[in-house]
């Protein structure tokens, strides 16, 4: 934030040299901006911090479009491509698997987030009304789920018995309600002014009307942030797909990403005879390209939710 520094009064009979207010670079009004070396040092520190964040992104994007020879010479990562090529993106998107996986991830994220928000908001609202039916046992049940997490095998058995193996619903239903998110929302709802809700009730509003016309509009920031939490969770999830999806064409992006990046897949690991293989884009280039593809949707969505983040992330910290 910039502040206006007070201007000196001009002496009579002497021409005014500079009446323009000088700009101060101090962050705090009234505080000295510091000596030039100190400011330079601070700038340098900030620059280093920015580079620490930006350089990996730049390296990933550059490597994804770099020429194979340059990648090999650089030993893996390229900071600036000499002759950019989109071979890796072509290789990834032409087979159909990555684009299909992207569609699956987008679908699961959108549907999952919507369902999670609807169910979480309704549950949190019910739990925030002290006199609601079964309020305490349901709350206890919810809290218990934070302490005792079902293991992999019980979860698998449950999904199998519901007939959801190889179904997209298996990627949504087991993680649809997150107890932590519900409790955060409940805390927020409990701190809404009670008078508003009482007034609505006196005016004859039903619980549904109170929730949709008063509580939700007042809680947009917290619901937005919880929605982002859910969306990122669905987007990043791979383990449920690994367990429940036998058909690789139904895999979400993150599981495909895992086969390329974590398993270092384009290299055979000494177990596969790639005698048959035609030259493919280098592993690093493919890995970088798929990383770029996987972060693009979140990067696109984040600016729209960011304005809610500042308010929303404080919810759990100061209330509850």
């Amino acid at each position: 934030m910039t502040t206006m520094s007070p201007t000196r009064p001009s002496r009579p009979g002497r021409p005014t040299r500079d009446t323009k207010p000088r700009r101060s670079y101090s962050a705090v009004p009234g505080e000295s901006p510091g000596s030039p070396p100190w400011r330079a040092l601070k700038s340098l520190l900030l620059l280093v911090c920015v580079l620490l964040v930006v350089v990996p992104f730049l390296a990933i994007i550059s490597t994804s479009i770099a020429d194979p020879t340059q990648i090999t010479k650089a030993g893996g990562f390229v900071l600036w491509p000499d002759s950019p090529t989109f071979d890796s993106y072509t290789a990834l998107l032409s087979g159909g698997l990555v684009s299909q996986a992207m569609m699956v991830s987008v679908g699961v994220t959108v549907v999952g987030t919507a369902l999670s928000l609807v169910t979480s908001v309704m549950l949190a609202y019910g739990l925030s009304r002290p006199g609601s039916f079964g309020h305490k046992p349901v709350l206890m049940l919810l809290l218990m789920s934070l302490l005792f997490v079902p293991g992999v095998i019980p979860t698998y058995l449950m999904v199998k018995q519901l007939g959801l193996i190889n179904s997209y619903w298996s990627l949504i239903l087991p993680t649809m309600i997150n107890a932590f998110n519900v409790i955060v929302l409940r805390s927020f709802f409990m701190n809404l002014p009670r008078e508003l809700i009482d007034a609505a009730r006196i005016d004859g509003a039903s619980e549904w009307a109170i929730l949709t016309k008063i509580v939700i509009p007042l809680s947009k920031a917290s619901i937005g942030v919880i929605g982002l939490f859910y969306a990122v969770t669905y987007w990043n999830a791979f383990f449920n797909a690994l367990l429940f999806m036998n058909d690789a064409s139904k895999w979400p992006m993150q599981l495909v990403l895992r086969t390329y990046v974590v398993n270092n897949s384009t290299l055979s690991g000494g177990q596969i005879d790639v005698a048959a293989g035609a030259p493919v884009p280098p592993a690093q280039s493919l890995q970088a390209a798929i990383l770029v593809l996987s972060i693009v949707p979140i990067v696109l969505v984040y600016p729209f939710v960011q304005r809610h983040m500042n308010k929303g992330v404080m919810i759990g910290a100061v209330k509850g």
């Binding site: 990648i71 090999t72 992999v152 690994l242 690789a248 086969t259 384009t266 005698a275 048959a276 493919v280």
Partner: protein, 545 residues
């Protein structure tokens, strides 16, 4: 009438604990794993009947050399002249993949052709390799088994127990033992060594996924050695160290070696140390317990101090192939199939790349080096219990997936369909980009034909590959425990190996004192090693009787 007191918190907790314990005990029951002798009882192995349909000047040999071919037959013999061999319902196979996942069947010309060729739809439920043990365990627990599943060796997959095999999977002995395998001639062409690990509980419970027993060479970048006018054929450890020093050129960012673990393996082989376990008169000793282990750690530490190892050797994993490919290291031990990989992946960008091989030199005049024998299988394929006719259909399908080099079945499996998947250069198939991605279909992780030396893009390297195998099999050191089962090894090895491996790396790097090794091994012996040894000794006795 007296009022019953309500359940208080303490009562609730006590009841819950009791119910929980009861459930846990019911779940565990009084299960005891099958004794080692019973789990490792012997069975009659399939008769080996070599396929001789395609002639070559580099034939496979009894002692484990793989056949080599410089060219594909111009007119490939038909594997199944009478038509598709396994007509019937779909076969579902759960297995793993190292490569990116291939396109789904509706977009995969090769997969569609393969289904037509076999006579039924083969559905692969594919899992990335690192996650496979977990998926395997969960699928078993779920009870809804596919028709066939890849089973990793027990030391990589603790769920692969003989009891589980007995309860859920088919004993294939009546179909495959002795001359019964004649019904499946391409499975009969798989060498006997690969069938041994398929035996459990006195029966054949699995199909092999054969790999060459020669193990892999120490690959050398001959082009870079030639530039420095050096001869990469040291006879002893001393000459090897000198060669490493001569070839290292830090200014050019060129070093002799990269991976510390495979370098340790190499030194162990120079010392003639056991390939995991040594068996003498029925008594087993693990190589971690031997003096050679400490000697090899010290030797790697000397190499590091001499500056001949890549500066990031101890800090980086999974980059060693790339370093070798781009010339940052000039020697790299790897699996036999890596030979072709290097040319495919790095040949186009490392101009003049010329790869040679080295066998472990002797340690000195009195201590002769050996070559650790490779695992005869990557893994095995187990088949769910089913009526006899269904088992026969699955075996006929697997027989088709083992069609050997030179046949039309092999060509389809490895190179896809001519046109979309490969073009012909003379008689040799050269893959197209579409073919490369379609042939990632993991048929080799169901079963496969014996390993064949063949590289259509650079046929002149095949005689060198064959020469390596011929030399290697003369000095093989087998692992006597490879085909045996030890419940303790299956359960404990991963746990202990993480600790021991970390300490080994520390000692080689100079971070940890060599003196700590004895304490770690003593602890290993007490908690797992001695029990493993006893189980392997019982297993050895049972298998030998």
């Amino acid at each position: 009438m007296t009022m019953q007191p309500p359940l208080n918190r303490r009562g609730f907790l006590a009841t819950a604990a009791g119910v929980g314990a009861g459930l846990a005990l019911t779940g565990c029951g009084d299960f005891k794993p099958r004794p080692a002798a019973l789990a490792n009882a012997n069975a009659q192995l399939p008769t080996y009947i070599q396929y001789k349909g395609v002639a070559t000047s580099m034939p496979a040999t009894q002692d484990g050399v793989s056949a080599g071919h410089q060219h594909f037959p111009a007119d490939p013999p038909k594997a199944f002249p009478d038509g598709p061999p396994a007509k019937g319902p779909d076969i579902n196979i759960m297995n793993l993949i190292f490569n990116p996942v291939p396109p789904p069947v509706e977009k995969n010309v090769m997969w569609q052709a393969l289904n037509k060729y076999i006579g039924c739809d083969i559905n692969f439920a594919i899992t990335p390799v690192n996650d496979y043990p977990q998926k395997f365990a969960v699928t078993l627990a779920g009870g809804d088994l596919p028709d066939a599943m890849l089973m990793l060796p027990p030391d990589q997959n603790s769920a692969a127990t003989p009891d589980m095999l007995h309860a859920l999977f088919e004993d294939l002995t009546p179909h495959l033992s002795g001359d019964n395998i004649r019904d499946y001639p391409f499975l009969a062409n798989i060498p006997t060594d690969s069938w041994r690990p398929c035996v459990r509980n006195g029966g054949i419970y699995a199909l092999p996924m054969p790999r060459p027993v020669s193990g892999g060479p120490l690959y050398t970048r001959l082009d870079l050695f030639k530039k420095k006018d050096l001869d990469p054929n040291p006879k002893t450890w001393r000459e090897f160290v000198q060669l490493c020093k001569d070839i290292t050129d830090p200014k050019a960012h060129q070093y002799a070696l990269g991976d510390p673990v495979t370098t340790w393996n190499l030194v162990m082989q120079m010392l003639g140390a056991p390939n995991w376990w040594r068996e003498e008169g029925g008594r087993f000793t693990h190589h971690f317990e031997m003096e050679e282990c400490k000697q090899a750690m010290d030797a790697v530490n000397q190499l590091k101090k001499a500056g001949v190892m890549h500066p990031d050797a101890f800090a980086v994993k999974g980059k060693f192939k790339e370093w070798f490919g781009n010339g940052q290291i000039v020697m790299h031990p790897d699996a036999p199939v890596a030979w072709n990989d290097f040319y495919t992946l790095y040949g186009p960008v490392s101009k003049g790349m010329d790869i040679g091989y080295m066998l472990p030199p002797d340690w000195d005049e009195s201590t002769r080096g050996g070559q650790w024998q490779g695992r005869a299988n990557y893994a095995t394929l187990i088949i769910k219990k089913a009526p006899k006719a269904r088992i026969k259909q699955i075996l006929r399908a697997m027989n088709a997936l083992a069609a050997p080099f030179g046949t039309d079945g092999y060509l389809l499996r490895k190179y896809g369909v001519q046109g979309p998947d490969h073009t012909l250069k003379g008689p040799d198939p050269i893959p197209t980009p579409q073919g490369t991605s379609e042939t990632y279909l993991p048929t080799i992780f169901a079963t496969d034909s014996p390993f064949t030396l063949y590289y259509p893009q650079k046929p002149e390297i095949v005689p060198d590959q064959y020469a390596f195998q011929k030399e290697a099999v003369k000095k093989l050191i087998p692992n006597p425990a490879e085909a045996l089962y030890s419940a303790t090894d299956a359960k404990m090895t991963k746990l202990f190996f993480a600790t021991l491996d970390s300490l080994r790396m520390g000692i080689m790097q100079g971070r940890d004192s060599p003196g700590e090794w004895d304490g770690a091994i003593k602890n290993w012996r007490q908690k797992a090693g001695d029990k493993m040894r006893a189980e392997y000794e019982q297993a050895w006795e049972a298998r030998s009787s």
